[in-house]
């Protein structure tokens, strides 16, 4: 069987990529995609720990399922916001959306 820490390293790598994307990308949709990457990395962690440490309990899978739901809700609302901003301000660049910035 594949050692547990291999999965965890893959998840850590994905999470780091996601962090970089959130901090560095300018396009709001790209930022949202990076957030999806981070959520996926978390899911991989949950499932890997479930498989190795508690395969007979349901917690790991159940948590992953709720992460899925939250990710979907977040994507739906986030993308709707982006579309709305685009229609009002003709931009999806995160830095240019600064009306509320003090």
């Amino acid at each position: 069987m594949i050692p547990l820490h291999w999965y965890l390293l893959v998840a850590a790598g994905m999470f780091a990529f996601g962090v970089y994307g959130v901090l560095a990308r300018r396009n709001a949709v790209a930022i949202l995609m990076s957030i999806e990457l981070m959520l996926n990395a978390v899911n991989l962690n949950l499932v890997a720990f479930w498989r190795y440490l508690a395969p007979t309990q349901l917690n790991g899978q159940a948590f992953a399922i709720f992460v899925f739901t939250v990710a979907a809700a977040e994507a739906a609302v986030g993308l709707a916001l982006i579309i709305s901003i685009y229609r009002n301000r003709e931009t999806v660049i995160a830095e240019e959306i600064n009306l509320m910035k003090w």
Binding site: H5, L8, G13, M14, Y52, L53
Partner: protein
């Protein structure tokens, strides 16, 4: 550790997941970034299968690739007009890269220190999907999160319809 077909599949799927993630964050063309996202999600589904969470793997493909990616692609196409001409990263990208590398380094350090040589404690029961179904609707299980999830979805739908259609 012997190099088995399983190892090969694991390496391939990890390459999909990591390469796809890299593509998402560095690609200038947003549509290509979305395609890389699909690749990453697909790799993730493969890893779920290796972890014997086949239900989550199917859901991953159905929900993430079949629905969320489609939603993201449509949003990119709807908001396309000024895309592709601007810089893909902002001025603070070196800092972001350092932060990301530090997070990766810290996580890797902790993981390698703590979770090497962990053996799986048992096999996955065959009936875990049915068990999950029962747990979702029982007091001892996840009845409250289950119902709250449906309300969350309702709220997300109402919110995004209101926001997207003004």
């Amino acid at each position: 550790m012997a190099f088995t077909p399983v190892t090969f599949v694991f390496l391939l799927m990890s390459a999909f997941a990591l390469g796809g993630s890299l593509g998402v964050v560095i690609n200038r063309n947003l549509i290509h970034a979305a395609m890389f996202l699909m690749l990453a999600l697909f790799g993730m589904a493969g890893l779920f299968i290796l972890l014997e969470a086949s239900f989550l793997a199917a859901v991953q493909i159905l929900v993430y690739i079949g629905a969320i990616s489609v939603l993201i692609t449509i949003t990119i196409m709807v908001t396309r007009r000024i895309m592709g001409t601007t810089e893909s990263v902002n001025k603070q990208w070196p800092l972001a890269a350092i932060v990301a590398a530090m997070i990766a380094g810290t996580l890797g350090f902790v993981l390698l220190g703590r979770f090497q040589n962990v053996e799986p404690v048992g096999a996955v029961p065959d009936t875990y999907i049915a068990e999950m179904g029962k747990a979702l609707v029982s007091h001892q299980g996840y009845l409250l999160p289950f119902e709250v999830a449906s309300v969350l979805l309702l709220a997300a739908l109402i919110g995004s319809i209101v926001v997207a259609r003004e």
